[in-house]
Amino acid sequence: MKIEINPMTRVEGHAKLDASGDKVRFAVTEAPRFFEALVRDRSYRDVSHIASRVCGICAISHACAALKATEDAFGITTGPRIRLLRRLACYGEVLSSHALHLYFLAGPDFFKASSAFELAASDPEILRRGNRLKELGYVLCDTVAGRHTHPVAMRLNGFTFVPAEEDLTALLHRLENGLLDLQKTVSLFKGRIPEMERETEYVSLRHPLHYAFYEGDLHSSEGKTVPVAEYSRQIREEVISYSTAKYARWHRDSYMVGALARFNNNSDQLSPAAGEAAAELGLEAPCYNPFANTTAQIVEMVHCVEDSMNLIEQIVSTDHPAETDEPVIPVAGCGVGAVEAPRGTLFHEYHYDGSGKCTFANMVIPTAQNLANLEADLNALLPTLAGRDKESTALRLEMLARAYDPCISCSSH
């Protein structure tokens, strides 16, 4: 049986999926935009703004990784209020991105619909709920960063604008309603995720105090934890002839990043309601079903909404300033910044000369890190589909690729 899905639909970016004989190939066909070259020779002032344009979905994560890397290079340590606000923006982005994936990209497959619009024709409330959850995430980002795509107010060592206390506390009511929508989301998707099992290496950030999104050390389920500054000595990227995105490996031939990897590594740090959602969905760590990445996203949405309420209380009771007009003094140096973008660990590295001009850049993108693992999963899945017709085989392969929530234009950047 020969299957060609070109282009992949209901994913971000251009890719094709080919299956012939017993081999499946997932090729990234997106045009590279050469971001690592674009920022060279440019001022540190522009770097985070250009970097956020790598991705329309996870622009906040790219901005945060770029700011953290540049702050690292210049020897800047950010204050607690800045870190709390950035964390809140990251929560907003994770919530909106997961809601987009769940309701608009992957979701229609579970209801035999070809799009969210078609799904809405039979049940308009499903689309409305997905839209409300996505919008709630966007509003969190707008409040903290001025805008979700692309953030405005985030700058080195602070913000150009800080939300008023009442703007933050006004979000609490919406967040509570968000939890109600998430309860319905849990019921909607419960029991609908296909079964599969293939154990692999799970990689994410890990923080000693909280479920890591904005900060933490680099952690592998193989039992290794290193500072993120060591990423390029641990993770090897390689160019594959049929893909404009590079593949990555650490201890094994492939590893997985993203919601399921974070859940497997850090589920002990989930908020109480997120823990309950995981129990209701039957998700337990370690889980070796890649389709359950979608389930882990639901759990993370609950965590982000519940913990946002805690963060807002902490932010309003923290006095440290976050808004500053003080110019940053560039120094020659190198820096690395990593965050958990919605789809997994994102690394940015920059080198600057003494005048603050960027002389080197490297970005390692979550979806690129997942590609080798996705192909291994697709190849493990295909033989189990023997006996199905072509259409149903193709759909199941597509669903597995969608479960990774690939962000393809980001991966080739």
Partner: protein
């Protein structure tokens, strides 16, 4: 009754952020879509059709094969709209056109010849005529809605041709120059409702220069080192230690394409 117009969304090299802005319109989008039939939208639909009346295109031309693709879209669609700055003026994609492709490929892939098929980055407006242009990185949502309604009612749409300063003043925002920020608002096409300056950041000109903008004059006003320089600009330039080249580079982040439209420019096709 006339049947509903068939619309399609397409994307070339970009971050797909403009399509997300469209999708974020939520209920407003769903109401707009009641007047049309969406037949192709790869990012959110599995089904697709090669027959459509109106095409919205995001992104820049980057592959050789993109040229044929956009020409085909142009032939098919009665109405073609460039969605956002990548499609209209090239955005960041065009920054590195001054560098040879083999240097770009060596820098990113460690191989001067991989991948094959890449050409000089350009907006779709440099390859085909478009009927409506929208701007912004990402596209301004109200501008998208205006254009959408203009198409359905067979009206023309002219992008606003005033500087961002006008929208700053209408909103009563303080001038960011007073906060020591360099701002490109005085020469940039408005229509964003001063989104960045409203949050205290300088305008980076993501909607491009307005028609007839005096770029050289703007740089001269910032750099003039005699008594003509305004005291606020004096402080901004000296605080940041900026040179004329630095300021021009800021202008170039989104506005590189018009520069390379020069006749002597060598395409690497």
């Amino acid at each position: 009754m006339r049947s509903k117009p068939r619309i399609a969304f397409f994307d070339f090299a970009c971050c797909e952020g403009c399509q997300l802005v469209v999708l974020r319109l939520g209920e407003e989008l769903f109401e707009l879509l009641e007047h049309v039939e969406v037949v192709s939208w790869r990012e959110v639909m599995t089904t697709a059709s090669d027959e459509y009346d109106i095409a919205f295109c995001e992104g820049s031309i980057r592959w050789q094969k993109d040229i044929e693709r956009i020409k085909k879209i142009r032939e098919t669609a009665g109405t073609l709209v460039s969605l956002g700055t990548c499609a209209s003026i090239g955005c960041h994609n065009a920054i590195r056109n001054d560098w040879p492709l083999d240097t770009l490929r060596q820098t990113v892939y460690g191989d001067p010849e991989f991948p094959q098929g890449i050409i000089t980055a350009r907006p779709i407006t440099a390859v085909v005529e478009v009927d409506y242009q929208t701007f912004g990185c990402p596209v301004s949502a109200p501008e998208f809605v205006k254009v959408f309604k203009a198409i359905l009612t067979e009206q023309e749409y002219s992008p606003p041709n005033r500087p961002v300063c006008v929208e700053c003043k209408l909103n009563d925002y303080p001038c960011v120059y007073e906060k020591n920020q360099v701002c490109l608002g005085p020469v940039t096409r408005c229509g964003c409702n001063a989104a960045c300056t409203g949050y205290g950041d300088g305008c980076r000109s993501c909607r491009g220069l307005m028609d007839g903008a005096n770029l050289e004059g703007a740089v001269r006003a910032l750099m003039a080192n005699d008594i003509k320089r305004h005291p606020i600009m004096e402080r901004v330039v000296s605080t940041h230690g900026l040179s004329e080249a630095d300021i021009l580079q800021m202008f170039g982040a989104y506005n590189t394409w018009p520069k390379v439209e020069r006749k002597d420019y060598q395409y690497e096709d």
